[in-house]
Structure formats: structure tokens, C-alpha cells
């Protein structure tokens, strides 16, 4: 069996002494795995995703990603490039004035030239059915459009793993349907934190339940 893409080993995490979240948490994302992450509100789904990309650091335990133990900020630069996180609130993710600039932000940071970035922007938007959105102003998009553009900003970095935090929250049935269709067609391994069972059934193939700080 090949190495998992991401592995948590006995991870503890708390937001202060009175708010423990994860306690002895083990977790694995196998290659090509499509994992649904479920559990009650506040059980630590978002925390787990943020730990993977190093936005939070564990109090104890070991996090491995792409075959290496990751502990310092510098270790996570590579993880963030290879694992794309879609935030719960698209308004947090889209901060550039226009869609084109926002989607190009990641590729430019990765050292792509202006021409390459522009090509990536066009291809990514095309693939998501957002052709022609390049010059739209981000804050004037609808909720569903914002979510798809946020997904485009993540996909533009060509990640190997997608981490999706409540991707359907605030979306209507049609937007949810479209998102599920797009995600089902993507080749990447992914982790989806959500409460939407129907959506999870369409997009993922296995389920991890997070409860009392542990996975089961």
C-alpha cells in the first residue's frame, strides 16, 4: 500500500485550556481518497483542515503531509501549494478587485509569468463554466458565483489535494447541484467537511466522523 497523502498521528489541539478541540486525533487521507468529514458543530472539522495547511499548529502529535513530517512555518509553504483550502466564507477568500486578479494571485505567487497566469485563469474559469467572468468585480458576484470563483482561485494553483470547508453553506439547490457536478468530475484527492449528506454522497467515497476530539 502506498503512503497516505496526509496523516495525523495522535494530534492534540485546543483554543485555550477551556476549549480543547482535538484530543489524540488520528487521521489519514489515502492517495486518490475522497473523504467526507462529518460531525456535530464545533467538533473541529475546520480546525482539522486548518491544521493540515499549517494555519494552526498542534499542541502535541505529528502531522505528515506528502511524505514528510511538517512542523515549522517553512514546511507548510510546500503543503499550501499542494493542498488547496476552500474557506467557509468566500468573502474571506476573494480579496482582489476583479475575478481575473484574484484567480491569478496564486499562480503569480508561485512564480508564473503574467502570460502563463492569464492562460491558467482562462482555462480554470472555462472549466468551471465561468468563461467571461474575468473582469467581473468580485464583491458584486452572487453567493453561488463567489463560491465557484473561490474554487477557481484554489484550482488555479493546481493542487494535488482539495480541502473544502462547508462548500455548500449558503448555496441554493441549483448552485449546490452544479458544485457537486464539478467536484465529482475533478481528479484530485479531497476532504470535504459538510453537514449536507446528499452532497457528500455525490462527491466523496468514504466517511470520517469526528467526535469528542477523535476520528472514528
Amino acid at each position: 500500500m502506498s503512503e497516505p497523502l496526509i496523516r495525523f498521528h495522535d494530534v492534540d489541539f485546543s483554543y485555550g485550556p477551556d476549549r480543547p478541540v482535538l484530543k489524540g486525533c488520528d487521521f489519514q487521507l489515502p492517495p486518490h481518497g475522497r473523504v467526507a468529514l462529518v460531525g456535530p458543530n464545533g467538533c473541529g472539522k475546520t480546525t482539522l483542515l486548518h491544521l493540515i495547511v499549517g494555519l494552526l499548529r498542534p499542541d502535541a502529535g505529528r502531522i505528515e503531509a506528502f511524505g514528510k513530517v511538517r512542523s515549522a512555518e517553512a514546511d507548510f509553504h510546500e503543503v499550501r501549494r499542494r493542498a488547496g483550502l476552500l474557506f467557509q466564507d468566500a468573502d474571506d477568500q476573494l480579496f482582489c478587485p476583479t475575478v481575473c486578479e484574484d484567480v491569478a494571485f496564486g499562480p503569480m505567487n508561485l512564480g508564473k509569468t503574467r502570460g502563463e497566469s492569464r492562460r491558467i485563469v482562462d482555462e480554470t474559469l472555462d472549466a468551471l463554466g465561468l468563461a467571461g467572468y474575468q473582469h467581473r468585480i468580485t464583491y458584486r458576484l452572487s453567493g453561488g458565483e463567489k463560491r465557484l470563483v473561490a474554487l477557481a482561485t484554489v484550482l488555479a494553483m493546481q493542487p494535488e489535494v482539495l480541502l473544502l470547508d462547508e462548500p455548500t453553506s449558503g448555496l441554493d439547490d441549483r448552485a449546490t447541484d452544479r458544485l457537486a457536478e464539478i467536484l465529482a468530475g475533478l481528479p484530485q484527492a479531497l476532504i470535504v467537511a459538510s453537514h449536507d449528506r446528499e452532497f457528500l454522497d455525490r462527491v466523496t467515497t468514504s466517511t470520517v466522523r469526528l467526535e469528542d476530539g477523535k476520528t472514528r
Binding site: 509553504h77 486578479e101 503569480m108 468585480i137 482561485t153
Partner: protein, 248 residues
Amino acid sequence: MTLDHHPAASYLARIDPRARVVAVVLLAIAIAAADRFAVPATALAAGLLGTLCSGVSMPTAVRRLLPLNVLMLLMALVLPLTTPGQPVLEIGWLSFSREGFELAALIAVKGNAIVLLLLVLLDSLDATTLGHTLSHLRVPDKLTHLLLFTVRYLDVLHREYLRMRAAMKVRAFRPRMNRHTYRTYGHLVGMLLVRSFERSERIVAAMKCRGFHGRFYLFEHFHFSRRDVPFCAVSLLLLLTLVLMEWA
């Protein structure tokens, strides 16, 4: 300048924004620095002519000029009292000086001329384009980012504010002149600050995830075209006229 983008129709709205910003800045400096009355008066006439030609509607122009002129009216009352000179009007022990009236008139004409030129040249720019324009004009990145982030998140924060106001209203909150009201408004502003701070942290996190290392990249490009030449010529001519009137 507006937050909302409206379709550019007039000739002026299609001029390279960089040329417009540079023109308005230079003209404003020339007008503000002038001592002779004829200089801002000429600029005001040019501004009025521009307003008529550029398709800015009269109600819009009046609405923009109104707050300025309320302030000017106050000055016209105060300056004659505080500027020493030949009295033209005496009411009891109050004495209004001629020099004071002249000064107030000069300032009023200057102010109106500059605001009119701003209106004519920059009204059709939305804030995002202005941000890009400033960035292309080598205004420090920190300032343009501040402007662009403000534009981007003003609406988000405003919606957050409205949601909290609605939450207060549905629980029967009515502002009155009492401690409860002040305390509630205090909470409202405090919560808005806390939420904005938390949002800014989430945004930084999102930026880090995409490999942010202190640089933004601009994709908007402006092109100086033949259409812009007459505009630049007219602006330059106006600027030269103003400068010569003052110093020749």
C-alpha cells in the same frame, strides 16, 4: 468617484484614467496656489463648460457641490469678522471687512472650481479603476492596497452592520436618549471592530494559503491612445493659461 461601476458613455469617460488623474492633480495645485481671482474664476468657467459637455447631470453636480458651499457660506460669515481691513458693514460692535469678503469669495471660487473639475474628470471612474490607476502612477503600494481593500470590504462590513442592526430591531430595540441606547451602540461598534479584526485574520490566512509574500499583481492595463491626445492638449493649455495668468 463612485463605488459602483456605470457604463462609460461620454468622451471623457473613455480617456485614459492616468491622464485624467494627472490632469486633475496638476490643475488643482495650480488653482489652490493662485492668489489672483481671475485664475480660479477661469478654472471654474472651464469646469462649468466641462460639466455641460461631459453629460454629468445637473442634479448630480448640485448634490456634489452643496456640502462644499454650506461650508463656504460659514466661511463667508466668519472671515470678514476675523480678517483685518477696511470695514464695509458694521452691525453694533461687529465689523465686516472688505478684505474678508474678498478672501471668502476667492476660497469659494477655488473650492468650487476644484470640485467641478474632479466631478467632470473622475466621476466616471469607479473606485477599483482609481486604485489601479494610482498604482500605475507609482503611488506607494501600501496606499493603493488600503484603498482597494477598503472598497472590497466596505460592502461586507456594511452588510455585517445591517445584520446586527436587524438583529437589534427584531428584539424591539428603539434608539432613545438613555444609557441603554448608548451602551447598545457601544456594543454594536465594538462587535463590528471585533468581527472586522477576525475577518482580517481569516483573509490573511486565505492569502497565506495561496502563497502570499507581500506582493500584489495588477492585471488591468491602461493604454494611451490617439483619443487621449486632444484631451491632454486641452488640459495642458488650460494649465498653462492658469499658470501664466498668475505669474506673468
